[in-house]
């Protein structure tokens, strides 16, 4: 493969992964400009120093790892220790997920369900959110996520479902206080 074709390949990879990677970076640095800069730097470095990875099936996991490392470097060592240590033990918890069902109006009635859910995702516990983001962005398989974070596939699944459970609770809670608030406003009109 000559250099031009490789560059096309590289461009395709960029197109596919720029947005999901930048979102991922944002979850660490919490700043859009830094997140974009970090991801762009990672791509530039790959072209300059690691061209061989571009065609490899490992390109995606590699990019996710490189972006995460770059984010942690950006944040400095303190935050790094706090964030970086993933282990199955952290997630050792009871798996009997319980779900409450309320026979209240359907979620369709909640104004801005989507906005609400967005907020819910932002409020997930850090590691849980990271796993949920990785698994729902559709770019990595669960196996790749497990390898990337150094945990088991089972933990990836559990955390994804923990996130689902938390989101559901979040939406439900919002619903239970939103309704009184909304009705309050309506009665005042």
């Amino acid at each position: 493969m000559n250099s031009n074709d490789l560059y096309v390949q590289f461009r395709l990879l960029f197109r596919q992964l720029y947005d999901p990677l930048t979102k991922y970076a944002y979850t660490f640095v919490l700043d859009h400009t830094s997140a974009e800069d970090i991801v762009q730097d990672v791509f530039v470095r790959i072209w300059e120093k690691h061209q061989s990875i571009i065609e490899s099936p490992q390109a995606r996991p590699y990019l996710y790892r490189a972006v995460k490392n770059a984010c942690l470097n950006h944040l400095g060592s303190k935050k790094r220790i706090q964030l970086a240590s993933f282990s199955d033990a952290d997630f050792d918890e009871n798996n009997n997920i319980t779900w409450t069902v309320t026979e209240e109006p359907d979620e369709d009635d909640i104004p801005n369900y989507r906005e609400l859910l967005k907020k819910g995702i932002e409020q997930l516990p850090e590691k849980c959110r990271e796993i949920f983001l990785l698994s729902r962005s559709g770019q990595l398989s669960n196996q790749e996520i497990a390898d990337h974070l150094g945990i088991s596939i089972k933990t990836v699944n559990n955390q994804t479902w923990k996130a689902m459970k938390l989101l559901k609770a979040f939406v439900q809670k919002a619903k239970s206080w939103l309704w009184p608030v909304i009705t309050y406003f309506f009665t005042r009109l």
Binding site: F14, T22, T98, W99, L117, F132, R136, G138, K168
Partner: protein, 325 residues
């Protein structure tokens, strides 16, 4: 409070990921209809799953703008590294070339005038001085003399083209590409030449296919054969792709074609990147497609495919991602 048994969670998860088999679907369906609460929970979960996926996959950052920054940064570095070597070689070659051409023109002031045909916007038909018909695919260029002189009819091609060469036994017809020479007496065939490879598909007659790097390596290609020359040499096999001429005819035909093959045909025809998403690729049983499209815009082709096999699509910039509905 309701406990969802772990095996049901597993099934819901499989269902949401789109790989549930019939038996499992049955069990899940049973659980859902057991109690109203079960159905409610399922609906709620499905909604959260889909909405959160759509939130997380929604494009937030401007990839085009970011790319232009990266491309700019790299173009400086990219050129610098190659310039050093190339400039020296090029400078030397230029001087030699100019001297040579000057000398050549001085002594042989009757070099045959070359015509250049370039298919910039759309496919372009070209008729050569001997009556041969050529159709250039958009992007292809062909250079040929105003008059064929001497024993050989010679043209130079880049890109993809279809040839119908006038039969003339005493004047072989020769096509030069960067890498190969193809010689014929009179026949119809299609060539696609670019930096990595030369592809040749013969419809009638036969073509002598020669590697410039090793002129001892000659291959005769017969009708319904597909031959490709890369830096690794020749590879010739029976033609399986019935769509090799769709760029010229506008007709795309699929017959029990796999999704991936279909995606690559569409990518090639429409000049976009069409790909199945990871879930679709991993489905244990992939649907195949049998259909015929005649000069249809991509949107209508994708809509028809959606109806045929339940595969939907979404656009991300100029990539089209196919996914299971």
């Amino acid at each position: 409070m309701i406990q969802i048994p772990e095996h049901i969670i597993l099934l819901i998860e499989k269902q949401l990921n789109g790989h549930l088999n019939d038996e499992e679907a049955h069990i899940l369906q049973q659980w859902r209809s057991e109690k109203r609460e079960h159905e409610v929970i399922y609906q709620q979960l499905e909604k959260i799953w889909q909405q959160s996926g759509s939130i997380l996959q929604e494009t937030v950052y401007d990839e085009e703008q970011a790319w232009s920054k990266v491309d700019h940064r790299l173009s400086q570095g990219r050129n610098r590294s190659t310039i050093r070597l190339i400039t020296r070689l090029a400078a030397a070659a230029c001087i030699a070339g100019v001297l040579f051409i000057a000398g050549w023109l001085f002594y042989h002031n009757q070099a045959p005038a070359l015509q250049l045909a370039k298919a910039d916007q759309m496919n372009m038909p070209v008729t050569l001085p001997d009556g041969s018909q050529i159709i250039l695919r958009k992007g292809a260029t062909l250079s040929y003399p105003k008059e064929f002189s001497g024993n050989i009819r010679e043209v130079t091609l880049t890109g993809e083209a279809w040839f119908e060469v006038q039969h003339d036994k005493s004047h072989p017809f020769r096509i030069q590409t960067k890498r190969a020479t193809m010689e014929v007496l009179g026949t119809t065939f299609s060539i696609n030449t670019n930096d990595q490879k030369d592809e040749l598909i013969v419809a009638t007659g036969k073509v002598l296919f020669t590697n410039k790097a090793d002129t001892a390596e000659k291959h005769i290609i017969y009708p319904h054969q597909y031959s490709v020359l890369t830096k690794n040499g020749f590879d010739t096999k029976a033609l399986t792709d019935s769509n090799f001429l769709s760029w010229k005819t506008g007709i795309i035909k699929f017959s029990n074609t796999s999704i991936e093959e279909m995606a690559s045909t569409l990518s090639n025809y429409y000049g976009l990147y069409v790909r199945p998403d990871s879930v679709l690729k991993e489905l244990p049983v992939l649907p195949t497609i049998t259909a015929k499209f005649d000069k249809q815009p991509l949107d209508s082709v994708l809509e028809e495919i959606k109806l045929l096999v339940n595969i939907s699509y979404r656009k991300q910039n100029d990539t089209i991602v196919l996914f299971k509905q």
